[in-house]
């Protein structure tokens, strides 16, 4: 083309573009996001201390007053709810992280680079999924320490955890949309809470839906946090699982199908 092109760009070798290029870019971004947890341990400490406190509170303070399912120790009822709640609260991190990147100008730099357009969101949600694996594993250990037991087997239990992680992953895209829409970390946090609170508390996560007022029960029974918690509960305690598992899967897939395109569109228009 011109002397300028040849002059300055000469000597820059590039990885050949293949179908794997977007994966490589997403992994690079995910790695970058995960380093933040290592460098700012507070992020991880606070996002794990809070669910631990919930476990202790509900197990030892409120638990005695809660009417669990017949024949099921409350701790076994509680822990599946805690797993789901942990991933829901954790998903705020997606919103805060993206809003921070947007505000700092980092997204602008990324968009000026010859990288896959999908990488920022794919990498961010991948990092959040990795964090959820870590945090839910920790919560399982905490659960075991306070008396939680799996009554079925390793496979149904792992399948249940996979449902929780899938749901958390789907939620990451919801909160990615929120983060990009508000563009400011503090606002992202404030905006996320009203979305989460009814989902987590008006659900079967901590107390059986039957104890709630009649008008609330239809919502509480069928909303995604409840069906996922109920699915995990059925998988670890025993009993009919198919309906809840299918409902949970349907919710997660539907959320992904709706919010992934919205988040991607938001990302294209952001900055």
């Amino acid at each position: 083309m011109t002397a300028a092109t040849a002059g300055a760009a000469a000597g820059t070798r590039r990885v050949p573009r293949t179908v794997l290029a977007p994966v490589r870019d997403a992994v690079a971004i995910a790695g970058r996001n995960l380093i933040a947890y290592r460098r700012v341990p507070q992020l991880l400490v606070f996002s794990t201390i809070q669910p631990v406190i919930f476990v202790l509170l509900f197990r030892y303070v409120f638990g005695g007053a809660v009417q669990s399912l017949p024949g099921v120790p409350y701790v076994d009822y509680l822990m599946p709810g805690i797993f789901v709640q942990t991933t829901v609260f954790g998903a705020i991190g997606t919103a805060i992280g993206l809003a921070t990147d947007l505000k700092s100008g980092l997204l602008e730099r990324f968009r000026s680079l010859p990288m896959a357009r999908s990488a920022v969101l794919a990498g961010r949600t991948l990092a959040d999924l990795t964090r959820n694996v870590f945090v839910t594993t920790l919560m399982v250990l905490v659960g075991f320490a306070v008396g939680f037991r799996v009554h079925t087997g390793a496979l149904p239990f792992l399948f249940g955890m996979a449902l929780v992680l899938l749901f958390g992953y789907a939620l990451s895209w919801v909160f990615a949309t929120v983060g990009l829409a508000v563009g400011d970390p503090e606002t992202a946090q404030a905006a996320a809470f009203p979305v989460m609170a009814p989902l987590v508390f008006a659900s079967s996560a901590f107390v059986p839906v039957e104890t709630m007022p009649g008008w609330l029960q239809p919502f509480a029974e069928h909303q995604p946090v409840s069906v996922t918690a109920s699915a995990v509960r059925a998988l670890v305690i025993g009993g009919p699982t198919t309906s809840y598992v299918l409902q949970s899967l349907a919710w997660s897939v539907a959320i992904l199908l709706v919010f992934a395109p919205i988040a991607v569109r938001r990302y294209r228009r952001a900055v």
């Binding site: 011109t2 300028a4 002059g7 590039r14 970058r32 100008g105 602008e108 563009g183």
Partner: protein, 332 residues
Amino acid sequence: MSDTAILVDGLAKRFGDVVALDGIGFEVPAGTVFGLLGPNGAGKTTAIRILTTILAPDGGRAEVLGLDVVRQADQVRQSIGLAGQYAAVDPNLTGRENLRLTGRLAQLPTADARVRADELLGRFELTDAADRPARTYSGGMRRRLDVAAALVQRPPVVFLDEPTTGLDVHSRNALWEMIRELVADGTTVLLTTQYLEEADRLAHRIAVVDEGRVIANDTPVALKAQLGSTVIELGMGDADRAAEAGELLGERLAAQLEREGATIRLATDDGSRLLIDVLRQLGDHELAPATLAVREPSMDDVFLALTGHRAEDAAAAAEEPAGRRAGRGSAA
């Protein structure tokens, strides 16, 4: 294709009701520094965002090295580097990690990205701080890291959006030096600035931008020449001597003259000629001035003359950094 590195023609962009770019146009020859000078909100940042493929224009066309920034965006991205108004580095990554990440995302092989990161850390005097998280860096260090990140893929065209905003004098001078080195290596640099001095010092050519349009496009010297006058200011010590000197110079010299207390001011198109004449006349009549100042028109004067308002006023009016939020409403 000739030697035009950047071509902007009739570029338009609006955000809702706000017109950010209103048919802006300019050309940047390869291997030169081009300055976009204007107050906050003039449209400089929007122009840079379009040229770096971050934003799509509403109208007009923009090319980098002959590549259309909309239709050939991906090729453009392989040829450019961008350092924005706010050092866009990840505060949690070390300097080295920031540069390696940028390298990987620029599709450099991992090994090359490592080598390049080390090279740039050395060149930008960040080697000692290379393994500290960037959030521990001073403002100047962050900005250097940001500029280094813009250079990772050895781009032939570099965009620097207000690169020295918020820097102390030492860091600013260091950055200016780096920009000169880049250009010496053949890189084309488009820089925006609100600092008239910066454009004056660095740019081969300056486009003065106001309200999304180019209102002047010339060399710094020519822009200043448009304004004409050199001003000579004589402090005569007391009003009597000033009156005497004023009368004398008024009779003998063809220059605009004004007297204010003990001070005499003369304005002319030919400053050096006038200075010689003034000093000769005063010397012959034992009226040597106590103080003497010669003032060339500054870029501020140019700006004021072209836009009718001072750059500082406009900048103060838009104190909130409009740039960051340009995508969601305001123009920058």
